[in-house]
Each structure stands twice: as C-alpha cells, then as structure tokens.
Symmetry: C2
Subunit: 246 residues, 2 copies
DNA sequence: AGACCAAAGTGGTCTGACCGATTTGGTCTG
DNA sequence: CAGACCAAATCGGTCAGACCACTTTGGTCT
C-alpha cells in the first residue's frame, strides 16, 4: 500500500465511514455519481472506482437508477475492522463478539496445529508460549502482542488451514490494531492469564489438543470478562465527560 | 444484483478466475490497463473499475508502475467461494478446512444462542432440528439444506453476533452453493448423523450449551469423514477419466 | 387514488488528454 | 562483464466530456 493515499482512497474512506456510521438508512440512495464528483471536487470516473470498492465490501448495491445502502449484516467480513475503528459509535458488544469468535478460531487453530505438529514444531510452540508467560512478568504489553502474532503465524504454518488464515486476515489484524490503541486497557487478572498460558503450554507439550483448545477458550473468556469491566469503566468515563467532570 | 452482469462484472469474473487459478505468479504484474482494455474490447475506465474490485478482494496490489498479484493467503475471506468454484483446481483439502471452520462457527453459534434463548426460542430451534431428522428419513437433501439455513438464521437472530454473521456471509452461502451442486455427494453414515442430531436436539432442550456445541462438532466431523471417502472416490473417477475409461 | 407519460435523472460505457512515477533498454566506464 | 547512468517508453492517477438505456419523478387526467 502506498504511503500517500490516492484521492480515490480518501473518498472511499470518507463514504465508508458515513455509511457504516449510519448516516444513510438501509435502502436509501447515495447521492448520485455526479453529485459526489462535485462534492469531492473529483470526476465521475474516480467516483465510479470508489463505488466499485464499496460495492465489493458489500455495503452498497449498484443498479441503474441509483446506488443504495445495504444492511451491514449482509456485508463482507472486511467491514468489521472499519466498524471497530468507528470507536464510540460501534455496535454494542462488538468487541465481545470478536473475542468469542477469535477464541473459537484460536481453539481450532491450536487443535489443528497439535494434531499435525512434529516434535520440533511442538518445541517451538511451547517456547513461544513461555515467552508469552515471561512477557506478563515483564509487564510488556507490546511483546505480549508480538508473541501472539508469532504464535498465530507458527500455528498456521503447521496446520495450513487457508480458511482460518483468510478469516484471520479480516479479523486479527484490524482487531489487534484496535487493542493496541492506547485507549484500550482492559482489566485482566494477570495471574489467571499466566495460569491459563501455563496450562496451554503443558497441553501443547503433552500433545493434548482438547486440553489446549480449552485453555485457549479460557484465555479469551478472561479477556472478555476484562472487557466487560473495561466497558463499564469507559461507560462511566463517558458519562463523566458528558456532565463536564474530569 | 442485476440479472444480466455488466461488462465490468464479466471482466472481473474472468480475471479473478485467472488469478486464483494460478495463471499469474505471486508478485507478477498483470497486463497493463491499456492492454486489458484492448483484450476485452473495453475502455481504460472500465478496466480501472475491474481492478478496484480485485484490489478490494485482496488478490492484487495496485501501484504506479503496475498491478501485481498478491498471495491468495493474504486475500479476504470472500475469495474462498471463488476458490471453491474452481472445482478441480482447488487447493487440496480446502473443503475439509471449510468444514473444520464451519464446525467451530456453528458450535460457537449454538452455544451463544442457547445461552441467550428464551423458552420459545428453544422450542423453535428444537422444532427445526426435528425437521432435520425427518428430512434424513425422507431422504430429502434439499429440505435438509434448507433447514440448516433456517437453523442458522434462527440462531443468529437469537445471539446476534455480527462477527459470526459476517463470517457466515463469506463462508456459508458460497459453501452451501458448492455442496448443493449435483457433483457433490459425500458418503455419510446417515444413521450416525441422525443420532448426532438427536443428541443436539436433546442438548438444546436441556439448555446444555456445552453438549450442543460438541454435537455440532461431531456432526461436522461426520461430514468431513464422508468428504474424505468422497475425495477418494472422485480421485478414482478422475484417474479413470484420464486413461480414457468410462 | 390510480393510470399514464414526458422530462429529468440515474448508472453503464466510451474516447481522449495530461501528468507524475516507474520500468526498460541502450550506452559508457572500470 | 558488472554496474552506473540516463533518456525514452510505459505505467497508473486523474480529469473532462459525450452518448445511451434504464429508472425515477412530477404533472395531468380520469
């Protein structure tokens, strides 16, 4: 991706945000190509390129007669990242839903990897998990996330499930970008996480895919419970902001 | 979607198939916009619209200097359906991978639904599962699939997990189209399927989400084992075709 | 209220132009 | 013969304008 977004990309971003934030109702027509060209001081050809990208995302439907907005539930997985980026106006509980799905995905991933792993693979995976445990001790969030990415890539290299990879493309990168933001600090019981990771490591070394899968689920459940606490905190903070208190 | 595909859509389909079937190597440049316009007897503006759609799919990267092919592993989930449609040239074991992921998704879906369902929801879900069991007795594949769609929609209506919905958009519709094709006849132990569905129904009625989740996994494992048998059969058939035998 | 119809407006497709960035191929040098 | 250099060719990005078939809109009539 080029460093400087093209004019078409900038317009894509603006319209996508407008659509996903609900500025247009489902079924409503977007302004015409000529109107959009005028608004963005662009040309009809460029606007048509923009519309093709939004159509491919699944959030609009193009027909002679006009371009209409489709329900976000019928879009592609790619819109998820953009929804998450909308921050405060995101759908209720979207993060929790992402965590549920991530947990199921990782659980399947670790089970598939263990079922196909060589002893060398097992050793490598266990080493990465040890690093995760250490990063809790070192209180290094950045390293923790880095190692989750490494673990993800290692497991995919072992089981080579393309479907998991493709779902991960639309899920993990945007989501990890979200949880890496400085505003996101869920309250998580670090000791419980350490215990779960230890259980995961043991299950991996014993080549027990069922136990490993369960440990992953427990891990994501912990993140979810921390998210609930975090949402309540941020809801409080938001309420304070509205009443003008620090 | 209009009944008659536009010229742009036809070109999108042709180039997407060429790219996904490996006609271009990763990193290789596509023919230029002007060359493609000439090949398809079209115009550069239309070709640029085509390229924007392929870019949004994640299978090409557009920069000044040329359009290059990206690895399919880095694409969006949407390409999965097109890969499945490629039939014989599909990636080895792709169907099995889809089934693994579908199983995990459905398992999470049924667990999430049970955890949030009212008694009325539970009753409706159980009724749908009873219909699934009956469709095995009636040997009605079409009704069976129809009811799976109904069950899917009902569970989504209950748990309202947007992420599952979006993944399902890119996974289920194309996949179901695939398994509805007359060429696809996996050998499945119908009695075992009936038993699993019965267990699922009981788990639903008892509001036991763990058991229900396991029943779903067992169901998809059965489909997977049937797929393996089917792949071996179709591999044999393919071998016979190549040697010129009926 | 419903039918009808002309006008206006929509997207689909096309031609041609210009510009900045990248690639290509030839030439020269060590 | 490899590497550097550079001009030409080619690439994608953006633009203006035209024409056509289809859809929407608004006025008129019954």
């Amino acid at each position: 991706m080029s460093a400087v977004p093209s004019k078409v990309e900038e317009i894509v971003c603006t319209l996508r945000t407008e659509i996903l934030s609900g500025q247009y109702r489902v079924g409503e027509r977007l302004p015409s190509e000529r109107d959009l060209a005028s608004r963005f001081e662009s040309n009809r050809g460029g606007i048509r390129e923009v519309i093709k990208k939004l159509e491919q995302l699944g959030i609009i439907e193009v027909t002679p007669g006009g371009v209409r907005v489709r329900p976000v539930e019928e879009a592609t997985l790619e819109v998820l990242g953009y929804l998450l980026e909308l921050g405060e106006i995101q759908k209720p509980d979207l993060f929790a839903q992402v965590l549920d799905v991530l947990g199921a995905m990782f659980s399947l991933s670790v089970r598939s990897a263990i079922d196909r792993a060589t002893d060398e693979d097992i050793s490598e995976i266990a080493t990465i998990i040890e690093g995760l445990i250490e990063s809790i001790t070192d209180d290094s969030v950045e390293k923790h996330h880095e190692l989750w990415m490494t673990l993800t890539e290692k497991m995919i290299a072992v089981h080579q499930n393309l479907v998991l990879k493709l779902i991960g493309n639309g899920l993990r990168t945007r989501f990890m970008a979200g949880i890496n933001s400085p505003d996101f600090e869920p309250v998580i019981d670090q000791e419980a996480v350490r215990q779960v990771l230890n259980d995961l490591k043991n299950a991996v070394e014993e080549k027990n895919s069922e136990l490993a899968g369960r440990a992953i689920i427990r891990h994501f459940d912990l993140m979810k419970s921390g998210l609930v606490d975090f949402s309540e905190q941020s809801a409080d903070t938001e309420s304070q902001r509205r009443t003008g208190h620090a």
